[in-house]
Symmetry: C2
Subunit: 363 residues, 2 copies
């Protein structure tokens, strides 16, 4: 039987740097644990545009469809701001999500004990925080038609469409309930059913799906109240499920609560493939950080934790994922810190690759 396959798309900015550290980890698993992957690499985002005039080449798209998991670094940078909407780096990422049909985006917001002081929130508000935001990723206003800028009368009008079918809501709700079952069995669904009909349908379908998960305590919250409650007392949540656009804002706010954006991974999952594995893409929550690219300042942990999520969700290697996460914890407890996490007394500053090496040692 052939090895499971991984496509690495480092992308732009700090993407290639942090991905180099993930490579070290993959090699370590091959050498020391005899867990082998067939790894290939390709371009996405601005890097792909520079090479091919498109942020995602059709060949790359085909490769992504064929592998067991995609690991993505980050896309975008000021250099590409002038490009037309249709070829901006982000379009590459959105095309991957859409064509791989990765409808369930898992964004953990976890606060690492060693880093609780980095949050702008009080320590007791964030210490031990561990919530999971499940964001719908392939529909809603990101992809709905009609869209565009049209002429009407004497002026231009910008139009986007929020559109959710029952089955789109149902499948992401189901994935959130499944997750809640493996966690604290609490799910909060967020929309604006008081203002938007798509939110009414969202609430109805989630409520309907909840009948199959009687053990899970389901609640509903308007997304604005959700934003508030995340800032006030985030520990009230276990799993949150919400749509593409609300999920974008709420998961970023939640990520920032932990104080360490350079630490947060994500998984985007689709339907099971023939081999039973879900279509999957893993990426750090942080962006391409062009201001520090190439300086060895980037924190590779978010990207390495994304690989840990791949071990868990794509390759059924939960124990190995835990091993990797523990190694990262050990390194943090020892006070090893990349540039984004400096400021405390008695810590050891390291570069991007220094952090990767420290994690390998801890493994």
């Amino acid at each position: 039987m052939s090895n499971p396959s991984i496509l690495i798309l480092p992308g732009d900015g700090i993407g290639p740097e942090v991905m180099a550290e993930v490579r070290k980890v993959i090699t370590w698993f091959g050498d020391k644990r005899d867990i082998q992957f067939d790894v290939s690499e390709d371009l996405v985002g601005g890097a792909a545009y520079d090479a091919h005039g498109t942020p995602l080449h059709d060949d790359t798209m085909a490769k992504a469809q064929a592998v067991d998991a995609v690991l993505l670094g980050a896309v975008g940078g000021p250099k590409y701001d002038v490009l037309d909407f249709s070829v901006k780096p982000e379009r590459g990422l959105l095309r991957l999500r859409k064509e791989m049909d990765l409808f369930s985006n898992l964004r953990p917001a976890q606060c690492f004990d060693a880093l609780a002081d980095f949050s702008s929130l009080k320590k007791d508000v964030v210490a031990g925080l561990d919530i999971m935001i499940v964001r719908e990723l392939t529909s809603g206003i990101y992809f709905g038609e009609p869209r565009g800028i049209i002429e009407e009368g004497n002026e231009r009008v910008g139009i986007n469409t929020q559109r959710y079918t029952e089955s789109e809501i149902e499948r992401v709700a189901r994935s959130a309930f499944e997750l809640a079952m493996r966690r604290d069995k609490k799910l909060c669904s967020m929309e604006k059913a008081n203002v938007m009909e798509s939110g009414i349908l969202w609430r109805e379908v989630v409520t309907e799906v909840s009948k199959d998960y009687p053990e899970v305590e389901l609640s509903h919250m308007y997304a604005d109240a959700g934003a508030m409650q995340l800032c006030r007392w985030p520990k009230q949540f276990d799993v949150i499920v919400t749509d593409n656009l609300f999920g974008d804002l709420l998961s970023d706010a939640a990520a920032m609560l932990t104080g360490s954006l350079g630490m947060l991974p994500s998984a985007s999952l689709g339907a099971p493939m023939d081999n039973g594995r879900p279509k999957a893409m893993y990426e750090p929550v942080h962006g391409s950080a062009p201001d520090i690219a190439g300086e060895g300042k980037a924190n590779p942990i978010a990207c390495i934790l994304s690989f840990a999520m791949a071990l868990r969700y794509s390759f059924d290697l939960g124990d190995e994922a835990t091993r990797l996460e523990s190694a990262i914890n050990t390194v943090l407890e020892k006070g090893v810190r990349t540039a984004d996490l400096l400021g405390e007394e008695g810590v050891t500053p390291v570069s991007t690759s220094g952090m990767g090496d420290a994690i390998i040692v801890a493994l």
Copy 2:
């Protein structure tokens, strides 16, 4: 010449209680400062539904159009959750906003020194915070057509439309620049121009308007990054301008940062009327809080500060507004606290009306 007119719409839940305290303040201004208003009162939200089967009677709408300023308490409550979308309490509020064409919603997020400890954020992150969010209030996905739940194939589809014309963006941008000119001359515009064409148009129009305000430093931020930055270091902002839906989430998050939702007012302004005053409605940011309604626990300060905004923006009585705000500050410095602000040592707990009385004494 007749007195300026105010229509009071107490609404539901704690609305009537907090509005009773505003009445005391209005009476004080009449008695002691000889500033007289013609005050009338009517129903909105669930209260209007109970009386008339609609959350806003046409007569009330006509009165709101005719007065110089509307003061609104709050709408909604669990009792009305079962109602059809078209007659929910919120529809009354949305109709007022839309038909009065109150396109510019000013939501200050200010942290009162005496209350900085109430924030879930660290004191240095919020102490002295004073930002103003300008939210577009009459367009976008709240009102765009087509909307609804339709049948398609074998399933239902929920649809809402985000729609912004150039002139809608321009007028709210202008009001934000005007505000920035009277503050620290910094404006940050938030959208998702990387994903939504309506965001691209938004960014273009705001940039165009900025040419008329060369003194104002304009920046653009994606709304997800904006949510993050509000949680990380809100003091980086002075004025923020954003659309209806993003404004809903971002202003609620910003409000919660201050730690005291019971303290935050808002003003919704439209075009100038014949008498030069803008169409205007003032309301606290907090909701109807049905769980504590009728118990004398509600904090009337947000509603009283909304009246202060009315003095400033509708009646050109900035000095009187400042007088009222100072009185509130004095009361807080003395340690007078409603139930939402208890927890510290050495404070004096008071009821809703106790707080109103204390403010009158301080005046």
